[in-house]
């Protein structure tokens, strides 16, 4: 048996963003050890410059509609993949800018930090393009390896080490489940590519295999009941890593989940809708209720993140093209609001060296800008109009209404009320309580860029969502065959703004 691999220039073009990033992260690593006197901040800006080039390349792919598959359909470039790559690269740029101040606190390996962040981003870009089970396994591990190290990056901090270990143990356990699930699916179908494993009959091996794969991806997105690593890991990890971990891998994992459920498992929709409805209800309710009891802002955002994932799963449970659109749009709103909130936590943490919610008392007196930005981000996460989170939730609920998932919507609405409570507790502490130390807080320019980007995204997506909606609708065009019975209108025209 012989294998032939033919690659033309046009094929390599599809890999251009990944190749650019690979070259660039080698440059960053080389600069780090070849020029020991170079201030490490420069490496951050160098990384951002490289990522901006990759972003420009991806935008060109998106506008020119470049697409295709490589390596026997293992690697696919379509508008969905390009959307998620832009999402991941955008997140990485903002995370690196938000890390600059924090990295100064490290005693060792300041330059390698940026290298590892770029490495994880590269892994996640491949995840967005994964089109068969082997590439799912490799890319998922590729991106997670970087995160294992990043979470445990504060070597002298026992909490960070412990967080890294917990993340590692549950991460490799999930990898074991994934590998075994893949082996069962392969045994039943003899194939690996998503479109080939769409089997007409549900044999026991296939059912168990897909359940194991779903469990492994559930670990990745942190849906209940696979959430147990989330609070501890988010709490102990360096805060910029927490911000990165709470957004980019979720997007990449949803790229895989959308492909798996919408392509491979489209025939079994009635069966998996129940599974996703259950995971969604559990995630929303558990995340929101436990968040109320939190004293640490990172843990609060961790539990709120679990609840947000529950919201996104509503779109997956709808299982239509509109559900897919809603997932993509919601991820965008989540990116700006959650990253913005974490940027404030990083900025405040750098200045007062504390992540306790008590220490946010009177933040408005100390820095009106930070307090106002935090207010906007928390209200967007809660889903208050006219912010981005409101449109995101509306879109997801409309997709679910089309499919008649009324129980899920009822639970989702109750959860919005619960989440409002703990977000507003933080707001109350910032605006009404008196500060224990009234000295003013100032933030650095790169941090300001991140906060302004978060504010701009949150307000823009909330007030004028139409361009973003058009973009996500175009990104999921390949799922047009999944339109539900009531989804006659292909685009959502919103009463406000649009």
């Amino acid at each position: 048996m012989t294998f032939t691999l033919t690659l033309s220039g046009a094929d390599l073009l599809l890999l251009l963003p990944e190749m650019l990033l690979t070259v660039w992260l080698c440059v960053v690593l080389t600069m780090d050890f070849a020029m020991p006197r170079l201030p490490k901040d420069r490496l951050a800006y160098l990384s951002v410059a490289g990522l901006a080039g990759v972003l420009a390349n991806l935008v060109w792919f998106d506008l020119a509609g470049i697409g295709g598959t490589l390596f026997a359909h293992m690697f696919v470039v379509d508008r969905l993949a390009v959307f998620f790559k832009i999402f991941i690269v955008g997140t990485t740029i903002l995370v690196i800018l938000a890390s600059v101040d924090y990295v100064r606190r490290f005693r060792f390996f300041k330059g390698e930090y940026y290298f590892l962040v770029l490495m994880s981003a590269l892994g996640m870009m491949f995840m967005a393009s994964a089109n068969d089970l082997l590439s799912v396994f490799i890319t998922l591990e590729f991106s997670t390896f970087g995160f294992y190290v990043l979470v445990a990056y504060l070597r002298d901090d026992v909490a960070s080490n412990e967080a890294g270990l917990k993340f590692f143990i549950l991460g490799v356990f999930a990898a074991g489940l994934l590998a075994y699930g893949i082996s069962l699916v392969y045994g039943e179908t003899g194939k690996l590519v998503f479109s080939d494993i769409a089997s007409p009959s549900a044999t026991p091996g296939l059912v168990i295999g897909f359940l194991l794969i779903f469990a492994a991806l559930g670990f990745k997105i942190g849906a209940v009941p696979f959430h147990s690593w989330i609070p501890d890991t988010y709490h102990g990890a360096p805060t910029p890593v927490t911000a990165f971990l709470s957004i980019a891998p979720k997007g990449a994992a949803f790229a895989i989940l959308i492909r798996m459920f919408f392509v491979s498992l489209a025939a079994f929709k009635p069966a998996w809708v129940l599974l996703l409805v259950g995971a969604s209800i559990l995630s929303m309710t558990y995340g929101n209720i436990v968040a109320i009891a939190q004293r640490n802002i990172k843990r609060l955002l961790a539990y709120s993140g679990i609840a947000q994932i529950g919201n996104i799963l509503i779109g997956l449970a709808a299982g239509t093209k509109m559900g897919g659109d809603a997932i993509l749009f919601y991820l965008l709103t989540y990116l700006f609001a959650n990253l913005g909130a974490f940027a404030i936590v990083i900025a405040v943490g750098n200045l007062i060296r504390s992540d306790e919610i008590e220490d946010y008392n009177g933040l408005n007196r100390r820095s009106p800008f930070l307090a106002f930005a935090m207010l906007v981000f928390l209200l967007s996460l809660a889903g208050v109009p006219p912010l981005a989170g409101f449109i995101g939730k509306l879109y997801i609920f409309l997709a679910a209404i089309d499919e008649g998932l009324y129980t899920l919507i009822a639970v989702g609405l109750i959860n919005i009320v619960i989440s409002m409570y703990y977000y507003l507790v933080v707001v109350k502490k910032m605006y009404i309580n008196e500060p224990t130390d009234p000295s003013p807080l100032t933030i650095s320019p790169p941090m300001k860029v991140v906060v302004y980007a978060g504010l701009a995204g949150t307000l823009f997506l909330g007030i004028y969502p139409q361009p973003a909606i058009n973009w996500v609708v175009a990104a999921t065009l390949m799922f047009s065959n999944l339109a539900g019975p009531a989804a006659a209108a292909p685009t959502l025209v919103l009463p406000i703004g649009g």
Partner: protein, 100 residues
């Protein structure tokens, strides 16, 4: 000739052993070994299916799983060493700093 069901049965036993090991053992090194057993259960399955289905893909996947298992062990042992320096312990139950 050994029937396919025998391979799948052994693999299932290995996988269950691994899962139980992760869930009940309290030492990180043993937990890591249990995870490796889970991955090897998958490998056994993949190679057996590959032989019986007469398709090469399964063996290729198994090779990648072996490589990734090696990477996992390297990263995992590094993290365990860092934790051991701070805590002088490899017991799961003593990792109780982070909780609500």
């Amino acid at each position: 000739m050994v029937p396919l069901s025998a391979y799948v049965a052994v693999s299932a036993v290995l996988f269950t052993t691994g899962v139980i090991g992760v869930l009940i053992r309290r030492n990180f090194i043993i937990v890591l070994m249990a995870v490796e057993i889970m991955l090897n259960a998958a490998n056994l399955n993949l190679v057996a299916f590959s032989h019986y289905l007469d398709s090469m893909a399964g063996q290729i996947v198994a090779l990648f799983v072996i490589a990734i298992a090696g990477g996992e062990a390297a990263v995992g042992l590094a993290i365990i060493i860092v934790v051991f320096r701070g805590k002088i312990s490899t017991n799961v139950d003593e990792m109780n700093l982070l909780k609500w």
